[in-house]
C-alpha cells in the first residue's frame, strides 16, 4: 500500500509536484498519466526516495520513507524511464549484482535469476553482455531486475517505451499477474490505450498537481453527466432515430459504422428501459450498450477542461 500526503517537490524556483495526496491499496494498478513535464517522473522518484521532497509524507506499506528509508525500500521495485545498466558485465552478472544487493541467499540466486529471465523472455541471453542487448531487451532486463527482489510495491516509469509488441504483451501479462498477487503497482505511460487495459485506477497530473484520481469509471462519471451509448439494429433505422430523438434523456445522435452512437443522461435502469422500449416498438436490436471510455479520451477531456 502506498499513502502520500501533501507531497511537494521543488527544483529551485520551479514547483514540480504540488501538494499531492493519494492512497493506493494493495493489488491496485495505478496509472499515472499526464503530459510531458506534468510531474509524473518527479512523483515516482520522490516515492522511491530518490528525491528529497520539499515536504510531505510518503508511507510505503506503512513505513515512512523519510525516517526509515532502508527498511522502506526493501519492499520497493523501481524501474526508471532510462535504462541504467553496467555495460561491462553479462545479463546474469547484472541480475546477480542486484540479487546480492537485496540479500537473496547465494544458493537461491541462480534459480531466482533463471525465473525472472524466463519471465521476461531473456533466458537465452543469460551469458550475453548487456551492452549487446537491443533497447527493448534492456527494458525487459530492467523489468526483471525490478521484480527480482519480489517487491510489494512496484513503480514503473514509462516501462513500455522502446519495447516491441512482444515485450509489451509480456509487460501486460506481468502487470496483471502482479495485481493478482496483491502487489501495488504505479505505472506512468503515454500509451494510454494500453494502460486502460490493465489499470484499476488512474491519476491525471497537470503542472505538478493531481487534477483527478480514482477508478477509471468513476472519473468518467465525474467528467460527464452524459455518457455515450450505442445501438446496432438490423432494420427499423427510421423508427429508431425518431424514438431516440423523442426520448428526454437522449442528446445528440451520430452514426459510426453500423452503430448509432448517442449521448444519454440516464443510468443503467433508464438504459434498460430504453432498450425495452426499442424492442417493444418492433425495432430489431442486435447490440446495445454503454461505450466504455478509454484513458485517452478521459485524458483529452481533462486536458480540454484545464485549458478552458
Amino acid at each position: 500500500m502506498i499513502a502520500v500526503r501533501d507531497l511537494r517537490v521543488d527544483y529551485d524556483d520551479v514547483c514540480a509536484v504540488r501538494d499531492i495526496s493519494l492512497e493506493i491499496a494493495d493489488g491496485e494498478i495505478f496509472g499515472l498519466i499526464g503530459p510531458n513535464g506534468a510531474g509524473k517522473t518527479t512523483t515516482l522518484r520522490a516515492l522511491a526516495g530518490l528525491l528529497e521532497p520539499t515536504y510531505g509524507d510518503i508511507l510505503l506499506n506503512g513505513i515512512d520513507i523519510s525516517t526509515h528509508r532502508e527498511e522502506a525500500v526493501r519492499t520497493l521495485g523501481f524501474m526508471p524511464d532510462s535504462t541504467p545498466l553496467y555495460e561491462d558485465i553479462t545479463v546474469e552478472e547484472y541480475l546477480d549484482l542486484f540479487a546480492a544487493s537485496y540479500g537473496i541467499a547465494p544458493g537461491e540466486r541462480s534459480a531466482a535469476i533463471a525465473k525472472y529471465l524466463a519471465l521476461v523472455d531473456l533466458a537465452e541471453k543469460r551469458k550475453a553482455m548487456t551492452a549487446g542487448l537491443s533497447r527493448g531487451m534492456k527494458q525487459r532486463l530492467l523489468l526483471a531486475k525490478t521484480l527480482l527482489p519480489e517487491p510489494r510495491i512496484v513503480l514503473l516509469d514509462e516501462p513500455a517505451s522502446g519495447m516491441d509488441p512482444h515485450g509489451r504483451a509480456l509487460l501486460r501479462d506481468i502487470l496483471r499477474q502482479l495485481g493478482a498477487e496483491g502487489r501495488t503497482v504505479i505505472i506512468s505511460s503515454h500509451i494510454l490505450v494500453e494502460l486502460s487495459e490493465f489499470c484499476t485506477s488512474v491519476g491525471v497530473m497537470q503542472r505538478g498537481s493531481m487534477v483527478v484520481s480514482g477508478q477509471v469509471e468513476e472519473i468518467a462519471a465525474r467528467l460527464t453527466e452524459q455518457r455515450v451509448w450505442w445501438v446496432e439494429v438490423l432494420e427499423g433505422e427510421m423508427p429508431l432515430l425518431e424514438m431516440l430523438d423523442a426520448h428526454p434523456l437522449v442528446g445528440s445522435v451520430s452514426r459510426e459504422g453500423d452503430a448509432y452512437v448517442f449521448s444519454f443522461a440516464g443510468g443503467r435502469d433508464e438504459g434498460s428501459a430504453l432498450l425495452a422500449a426499442l424492442v417493444g416498438a418492433g425495432i430489431r436490436v442486435t447490440a446495445f450498450g454503454r461505450r466504455k471510455e478509454n484513458l485517452e479520451e478521459l485524458f483529452l477531456k481533462i486536458g480540454a477542461k484545464e485549458v478552458s
Partner: protein, 514 residues
Amino acid sequence: MMSLTTLVWDNPILVKFVRSRLRRQQVIPLLTVVLLIAGALTWGSYSAVRQGGDANLVFVWLVILQGVLLLVIGAGQVATAIAQARETGMLDFHRLSPQSPAALVVGFALGAPIREYLAYILTIPFFILIGYLCEVPFLALALLVVGFVVLAAFNYLLAMTVSLSVPANSLRSAGALLGLVLILVNILWALPPVTFFTALPLFFTQVGRVVDVEMTYTFFGMPMSGFLISLLHQAPLIVFLWFAALRKMRHERLPGLSRPMLLSLFVFVGLVSIGDVVATDAVESGFSGLGTEGLALSLLMQQFFLALFLVLSVTPNAGQFLHGVRYYRKLGIWPVPQRSDRAGNLGVVLVVSLLLFVIGCGAAYASGISDDSLPLAWLAAGVSATAVLTIGLGAQAFYLRFRKNGVTYFTLFVFLAWIMPLIIGLLGYSTTGLGFWALVMCFSPLAGIFIPITGTGYEHGHVSGIFSLGVSFTLALILLGMYVRAARSTIARAIAAEEEQRPAPITPPTPAAV
C-alpha cells in the same frame, strides 16, 4: 551495524568490479607491462650493484611506478566509476537497494581500482628485492607500503567525494576537476608548513634519500617520525572524507559535510597545523627557509583558503534556500535552524570567521614570531577573518539576489574587490615604489594579510593592515545588509508563492436538468 567482513567480502559492488575489471583479456596486457618494467628495473639494479655502483635511482623509479599505478590511475578509476554510475542512473539503483552507504563507498573504493591493486601487489616482490639490493631496512620498506595504503585511501575517498559532488550536468568534466583537486591537495598542501596533510612530499623525500627511518620532526614539541606525524594528520582527514562520501552516497543534493562536521574539520586542521609549528625551531624543523613570519603567514593563508572553500561549499543557492524555508514553515519551525544545510550561511560564516581569527592568532604565537611582529600577525588574522565574512555573506547575498546569475556576478565582484586592487597596486608599485600603492593593494584583503605580517621591507605594515581591515569590515557590513534584504525578499516570495492560484481540481458537474 554492518561488520567489516560483510562490508568487504560480501560486497556486491566489489564482486561486480572483480568480474568486470579482472577479465583475462584486460588484465593480462596490464600485468605483462608491469612485470616487464619491474623486471627490467630489478635487472638494472642488480647490474648496478654487481658493478659496484648503487641502485638507489632504480628504487626511486620503481616507487614512482607504484605511485602512478595505485595513486594516480587508481584514483582516476574511482572517480570515473562514480561519474559513470551517476550518469547512467546506476547509482540511483544502488541507493534504492538495501545496501548501506558504507557498503557502496567500500564497494567503489575497493572495486573500481581492483586491477591497479593487482598490478601494485605484483610489484611488491620486485620492491623488496630492489630494496634489499639497495640495503633499505625492512622496516623502511614496510613503512613505504603503509604510506602507500594510507595515501591511496586518502586519494580514493577524495576522488569519490569530488565525483559525487560535481553537478550532474558537468559529470563529463569530473576527471579534469578531480585532477585539479588532487594536484591542489597533494602538491599545494605539501608546501610548508602543512607538509604533513599529505604524505606525498615526505614520502618522496624519504624515497629520494632511499628511506631514512630516522627522519624526525616535532608535533606539539614532541619529536616524532615524519611518517607517524603524517598518519596523525591523514587518518582524521580520511575519517572526514569517509563521512563526506557517505553523506553524498545517501543524499545526492546535500553538501558532503554537515555544518557541525565542517566546523570540526576546520578546527582539526588548524589545531594540528599549530601542532606542527609549536615549540620548534622553524629552521631545524623541516620548514627551513621560511622564517617564523613566513611560517605564521603560510599557516594563516592555509586556514584562510580552507575557510573560504568550506564556507562556499555550504552556501545554499536560492533554490536550496527556498527549499529550507518551505520545509521548516510546513513543520512550524521558524526561522530555519542554522545547523540545517538549507539555512542561509550567516551562522556558519560568523563562526568560521571567529575560529579563523583565533587560529590565526594562535598560529602566530606558536610559530614563535617576535613580540614586535605579534600584533601585526593578529592584525593579519583580523583581516583574513573579515575577508571570510565578506566572501561568505557576499556569496549568499549574490546567490539570493541574482539567483541563476548569482555565481557569475559574485565572481565579478570578487575580481573587482580582490584582484583589481592587487593589479593596480602592483603596476603602481613597479613604477613609483610601495608607499601609496601599498594602500591601493590593501583594498584587497590578500595584500592586507600579506603586507603586515611579512613587513616586506615596508615600515608602515600596520597602517596597511588597519586600512585593509577597515575596507574588509565595511564591505562585510554592506554585504550583510544586502544578505538580510535578499533573504527577506526570498522568504516573502516563497510565502506569496504558496498562496498563488493552484490548478483547480476537476469537480463533478452538477447533473443537467434534462
